[in-house]
């Protein structure tokens, strides 16, 4: 009897063990299955390179180039804000902060990393957008710049904590060896610690990019929502995630529009997958490089 119980639970755990894989496959299958019909309507290439997104016109245009470019533009801006600040803050925490300061700041940043994206979006709408509108004399403050800054601020704690992890994995003996050879703190940092943590830091930035591309609420609320090819940071844009979130509710089930939104999701899915795989590969190199030292 007991033996059967053992076997039953063994197989139960095996099944549960595969749950993450199963859901990943299910998501992939569903997204692509629902996306396929749109490529009968608009060929794949025309879909991603089309310059016009008029899903409710007659006949509709399903070109998502403006949406892809908007996603990249906003993400680029976010990374420009978040990467230096996140890395700088992490370096401050690991290199300069005293023990007491660190004991306070580290959990604080961890907690702030949990602020929901909708709250950032809300802040962007009520504070940053009016500010930029006045500062740059814009017709609306809801634009790529506001979205980038909001998204950037949101990504700082995320990037910071990953960079900190990467830095703390660098063995202490590397630092000691460098100091013992007469290098000062700065030289030790720039010549030994940062190069050793380099791929870990890159991983952090890549994951930050991936998350920014996939982030929905912030850009939905502050990017402005104009589905045109973006020409500047001061103009309203409509990233892929915002398009899906804004239009799904009104797209009739099974319509071309519905499938087109799944098509966007498929593109988004593949993009983030590429960045995640890239991050994983870089991270692997990081571990190998320090491998014999861990």
């Amino acid at each position: 009897m007991n033996r059967y119980k053992e076997i039953f639970f063994h197989w139960l755990f095996v099944v549960l063990g595969f749950s993450a894989l199963a859901f990943l496959l299910a998501i992939t299958l569903l997204i692509f299955k629902e996306a396929l019909p749109i490529f009968k309507h608009t060929p794949f290439w025309a879909f991603i390179s089309g310059q016009f997104w008029y899903p409710t016109y007659e006949p509709p245009d399903f070109g998502i180039l403006p949406l892809i470019l908007a996603s990249f533009l906003v993400t680029l801006g976010a990374v420009v804000v978040a990467a230096p600040l996140g890395i700088g803050t992490a370096l401050y925490l690991t290199e300069l902060a005293g023990r007491r300061q660190r004991a306070f700041l580290k959990p604080l940043l961890e907690i702030l990393a949990g602020v929901p994206s909708v709250v950032y979006g809300f802040f962007g709408m009520v504070v940053l957008a009016p500010f930029f509108q006045k500062a740059f004399q814009l017709p609306t403050g809801l634009c790529a710049l506001t979205a980038s800054l909001t998204l950037g601020i949101m990504s700082i704690p995320f990037i910071c904590s990953l960079v900190e992890d990467a830095l703390s994995v660098v063995p202490r003996m590397f630092r000691e060896a460098s100091l013992a050879l007469g290098a000062n703190h700065w030289q030790t940092l720039t010549r030994v610690v940062i190069p050793a943590a380099g791929s870990g830091i890159s991983t952090a930035v890549i994951l930050g990019i991936s998350r920014s591309i996939g982030e929905t609420m912030t850009v939905l609320m502050v990017a402005g929502g104009a589905a045109v090819i973006p020409k500047s940071f001061l103009q309203p844009v409509r990233p892929m995630t915002a398009t899906i979130a804004a239009e799904m509710a009104e797209a009739p089930f099974g319509s071309a529009h519905y499938h087109a939104l799944f098509g966007i999701a498929a593109v988004l899915f593949v993009l983030t997958l590429i960045f995640n795989v890239l991050a994983e590969a870089v991270c692997q190199r990081f571990r190998q490089k320090l491998g014999s030292k861990l």
Partner: protein, 255 residues
């Protein structure tokens, strides 16, 4: 060697604290020019802590505190105006576990001169070759200078670390259990090397291996529970120790 060598490093009534805990008690010790001084004792006796005071590596430990004076050539190295970087260039250190940087062999050895500001490629090549020759590694690595240092064996890595230390042109070299993670053959090579280096440098070596201390050192200091129990010429300590504890330790009764 018998005619009164000059004192290079001197610790006077040195005590050291981790927070409230006193880990070294009033250590007074002289380290002589062109000699090897071995520091022995059971693990946890403070020998590594002590040697790390000599080039101020313990500065990195938060909440630690030093009492007493440590003099290098008659100058207190813990005075605020002392440049720690300069001090560490004069007093080099080789660590317990080989710790080459994840860079090429060349870059590892050239690291010290480069951070000092040497940029001349030819000069660097020269320094790297000389240092690797002195550490008896040149013949083994001369064809693979640009390979990652982590591809070397453990013993080779440790000799690389010694070369890296020599490239800074220190006057005193501190060895913190340099053979602790090496096999007997690699250990023997390092010991030969230390004996060779003695001609040019002043050497302090921490070891838990008594035979090693007997083989390589001129002077031996025996530490026990953070105190210096006995210090003197190695032959004397190993044959006619004055202190009963030293005798017991050497006889293998504890530790």
């Amino acid at each position: 060697m018998e005619n009164k060598p000059s004192v290079r490093l001197q610790t006077i009534q040195v005590s050291f604290f981790y927070g409230e805990k006193k880990v070294l008690h009033n250590i007074s010790l002289d380290i002589y020019q062109n000699s090897v001084t071995a520091i022995i004792g059971p693990s946890g006796c403070g020998k590594s802590t002590f040697i790390r005071l000599l080039n101020r590596m313990n500065d990195l430990i938060p909440g630690s505190r030093l009492q007493g004076t440590i003099m290098l050539d008659g100058q207190d190295i813990y005075q605020p105006q002392v440049n720690v970087v300069e001090l560490r260039r004069k007093v080099g250190m080789v660590f317990q576990k080989p710790n080459p940087f994840p860079k090429s062999i060349f870059e590892n050895v050239a690291y010290g001169p480069v951070v000092k500001g040497t940029r001349d490629r030819l000069l660097l090549q020269n320094i790297v070759e000389q240092s690797l020759r002195k550490s008896a590694l040149w013949e083994e690595v001369k064809d693979r200078l640009y390979e990652n240092a982590l591809t070397l064996s453990g013993g080779q890595q440790q000799r690389l670390c010694i070369a890296r230390c020599l490239a800074v042109e220190p006057e005193v070299i501190l060895f913190d259990e340099p053979c602790a993670s090496l096999d007997p053959i690699a250990t023997q090579r390092i010991e030969e090397l230390i004996t060779e280096l003695k001609k040019e440098y002043t050497i302090v070596i921490v070891t838990h291996n008594m035979q090693q201390a007997a083989r390589v050192s001129d002077y031996t200091a025996f530490f026990w529970l953070g105190e210096l129990v006995e210090f003197g010429r190695t032959e004397k300590i190993f044959t006619v120790p004055e202190n009963k504890r030293t005798e017991e330790y050497l006889a293998g009764k504890f530790g």
